[in-house]
């Protein structure tokens, strides 16, 4: 089943760990294997490495090292931020604000809070997936304690006007968390510049290992831990620290900071080549998300009359990895709430297809997709009763 031409365009699901990152991690499995909480040289060496990494992650965010809490996934960071901050301030108020296109780890954390007596206002987005800062201002109430708006969306690539939103929350005296899991390491996430109070990021989204992520929370902002237990991470996240993972995340953060401009320089031309090529070659195909305010490597579409999983399977036969927000690709069998929030109907949302380009991809990779994908679409449309109806209706019109 393996294709000779291997083109990985699912970097939004996870990236490949860089060789330098893996190399940095290696000593921390079998050589410097102490527990950083232990009181001896083995522990001390592990702790030093962990703290150095914390510094590197902080640098990526232009933050202070002691404000970084290491976690295991972007999901954990988002749960910790949304539930942790809201719970810590619940005496002040029990209202939070999110957008309609948040990742489930934010959206369902909000739902859990709503079961605990919080009310949640979900702010809509426009057809490009943008949140209107004025809508945030309108949604904030006297008892609002937290606004959580993602930095960039992993399904449609749209980057939110966070600075403008931060100006609103600051003025209202409300805390602002941002889910930067899809953006951190790929576009600048300077927390001072953005003006946010808390930010989630995940290592495997920028060429670091899986199993490690972080939450940055501005000093002075309180949050309750998710885990009861020991005093690791200053009591903010109990459990033995994942030292090799943390070292890998630190190295990946260091490289990401250094190479940040490459994302724009290299990925945007590839992305635009893919977007322009596909929309030109395949009729009845729309770009989803904002045409320009989008992640550098992110090209997402809805292809009418056919379904995403079937496209993924055929692309896979051609050696291409991509993803989809179709109902059939989700275990819950529901179309992506993100696509629906853009005003896309269920049938069109079924045709969702997302390519996420990484720094290892080449122009040849893009051209391979441009070559094979139209035939994939053709084949599936030939089988589609909806395409049939469309053609007949078109003929009827003529």
């Amino acid at each position: 089943m393996a294709a000779t031409n291997k083109v990985y365009l699912d970097n939004g699901a996870t990236t490949r760990v860089l060789p330098e990152v893996l190399e940095a991690m290696l000593p921390y499995f079998g050589e410097v294997y102490g527990n950083p909480s232990s009181l001896h040289d083995w522990g001390e060496e592990a702790k030093d490495a962990m703290e150095e990494s914390r510094g590197k992650v902080a640098e990526l965010l232009n933050a202070n090292a002691e404000e970084i809490v290491f976690t295991s996934t972007g999901t954990e960071s988002n749960n910790l931020a949304v539930k942790g901050i809201a719970s810590a301030y619940k005496d002040k108020g029990k209202h939070i604000v999110i957008s309609a296109i948040e990742h489930f780890s934010v959206m369902h954390s909000a739902r859990t809070l709503s079961k605990e007596g919080f009310t949640v206002t979900t702010v809509p987005v426009d057809k490009d997936g943008l949140v209107d800062p004025d809508a945030i201002a309108g949604a904030i109430q006297k008892d609002t304690v937290l606004v959580s708006i993602m930095h960039a969306n992993g399904e449609i690539g749209t980057i939110q006007p966070l600075k403008e939103i931060a100006a609103v929350t600051k003025k209202a005296g409300v805390l602002l968390h941002t889910d930067a899991v899809a953006s951190a390491g790929n576009i600048p996430t300077d927390v001072k510049d953005l003006g946010v109070d808390a930010l989630s990021l995940a290592s495997n989204q920028f060429y670091g290992p899986k199993g490690v992520a972080a939450l940055w929370v501005r000093k002075g902002v309180r949050f309750l831990p998710l885990f009861d237990g020991g005093i690791q991470e200053g009591g903010r996240r109990a459990g033995t620290d994942n030292v090799p993972g943390i070292v890998g995340m630190g190295k990946a953060a260091e490289i990401a900071k250094k190479d940040m401009s490459l994302n724009g320089e290299r990925l945007i031309p590839l992305r635009d080549r893919l977007i322009n090529g596909l929309t030109a070659k395949i009729e009845r195909t729309i770009l989803t998300g904002h045409p320009t305010r989008r992640l550098p490597g992110h090209a997402s579409f809805c292809v009418e009359f056919i379904e995403g999983e079937a496209m993924l399977m055929m692309l896979n036969m051609h050696g291409v990895a991509a993803s989809s927000g179709s109902a059939c690709t989700s275990k819950a069998l529901k179309a992506s709430h993100v696509l629906l929030a853009l005003g896309i109907d269920h049938a069109l949302a079924q045709g969702s297809l997302v390519f996420t380009i990484g720094l290892e991809n080449t122009i040849e990779d893009i051209d391979h997709v441009l070559e094979v994908f139209p035939a994939v679409v053709d084949r599936l449309r030939q089988m589609s009763p909806l395409y049939d109806k469309y053609l007949k209706a078109r003929q009827g019109v003529k």
């Binding site: 079937a310 399977m313 036969m317 179709s326 109902a327 059939c328 069998l333 589609s384 009763p385």
Partner: protein
């Protein structure tokens, strides 16, 4: 991939009997794009047997493979035999389907049955018309 069996992959990659029949004896449709999958079956009937079956499917790999398998299983069968084909027996013939695909994508037998019912009701109304004509 959602761990499809080889047989599913085979039917997905090389679906049998894709297409339409001009002036079919029966036509059946199930599903809608909201829930995910949509299947349209066309049949020709000769001597109480399925002489030709074609389908068009909008949906995931499983939906396409299921449609293809149903068309193959029913080909040449009597209408009674074809009505005895169930969604479960199709899934079994395909070597199983992932659990979350059983409910939504596994509707091929229903679509076929709808087409047969359609054929029968057309025939009935034809008979009725004829008898009405006779009577009238």
């Amino acid at each position: 991939m959602p761990t499809y069996s080889e047989k599913v992959m085979d039917h997905f990659m090389k679906p049998r009997n894709v297409g339409e029949i001009e002036n079919p004896d029966g036509m059946g449709e199930v599903g809608n794009p909201v829930c995910g999958d949509m299947m349209t079956f066309y049949i020709k009937v000769k001597d109480n047997r399925l002489a030709d079956i074609k389908f068009k499917t909008f949906g995931c790999g499983a939906a396409i493979a299921v449609s293809s398998m149903v068309s193959e299983m029913a080909q040449g069968k009597t209408l009674e035999e074809a009505m005895a084909i169930t969604n479960d027996s199709v899934a079994a013939e395909l070597g199983g389907l992932p659990k979350n695909k059983m409910h939504c994508s596994n509707l091929g037998a229903d679509a076929l049955h709808n087409a047969i019912e359609d054929y029968k009701s057309k025939k009935d109304s034809l008979k009725k018309e004829t008898s009405d004509a006779k009577r009238g």
